[in-house]
Amino acid sequence: MSVSTWRRLNAQRDHHWARSRIPFYVDRELPSRQRRRLYQHEQLCRECRQMIRTLSALQTMLPRLRPRPEVAERTAAIVGARIAD
């Protein structure tokens, strides 16, 4: 096997591995050794880098969608009346 073929196969395997770990990486749930490995891959792979950046941006946006309803007192009154029956 030529060096270039070996490198290409190695890069493909690394990319496949990285794709499977990105969900844990974005959530900071990877062990440190894997985190370092994925970080190194991120520096070399545009596709993974963009996926990580956009998923991380999504993580900052989604909590802002959380509504702040005020139904607690009304619900407590209604449920309280029903369970008292």
Binding site: L62, P69, T75, I83
Partner: protein
């Protein structure tokens, strides 16, 4: 007034198990807003969401003897609420088009992670996000709502859905990719 602690809650739950209605009402006060917020993600009508929230607490009251304390009270409660919401949602026509999950990236999509509207998270971007979440199939919407919007831990959210963490994580990731795809399409269109 001091904030409620896990110990306070354990005391309330124990009293509620002894049929102390006031203790249960306090549990309702503590959890109703967040439960309603979760339920609302699965039902188009806020009035339906309120009704399901109330029904969830009534079911919890009737079944509180069955709550063993092996999980946290709120994960048990959310599980009941989610099942109630899904039951009603099945009977209702979907509010919008539910898209099948595609997790491949959109070709030529720009890297929008630093776009100003993303940083602000308001206006049109918010609408795109809300539409994308509504378009998710229920079993993929739930992980995203519980974990990424409501802020439950992976462990707690997986417990609510009665999934192993690996299975939960897989669904969550696919949901995130589907929502990301909507943003890819939005920014690609904006470039034209």
């Amino acid at each position: 007034m001091r904030s409620p602690t896990a110990e306070d809650e354990a005391v309330l739950v124990e009293r509620a198990r002894s049929r102390d209605r006031l203790a249960f009402e306090e549990l309702v006060r503590r959890h109703a807003n967040r439960l309603y917020a979760v339920v609302l993600r699965f039902l188009a009508d806020p009035a339906d969401a309120e009704e399901v929230t109330q029904e969830t607490f009534l079911r919890a009251w009737r079944g509180i003897d069955r709550f063993q304390g092996r999980s946290q009270f709120f994960t048990w409660l959310y599980r009941i609420g989610l099942n109630e919401a899904k039951r009603l949602a099945i009977r209702q026509p979907p509010a919008g088009k539910v898209r099948s999950l595609e997790d491949e990236p959109v070709p030529e999509a720009p890297d929008w992670s630093e776009a100003p509207e993303v940083r602000l998270g308001q206006g049109e971007i918010r609408r795109v996000l809300e539409d994308a979440i509504r378009a998710l199939p229920t079993e993929y919407r739930a992980p995203l709502v519980l974990r990424d919007i409501e802020g439950l831990s992976t462990k707690d959210a997986a417990e609510v859905m009665e999934l192993r963490e690996a299975a939960f994580k897989s669904r969550l990731h696919r949901a995130r990719l589907a929502v990301r795809r909507s943003l890819d399409e939005y920014f690609l269109e904006a470039e034209k």
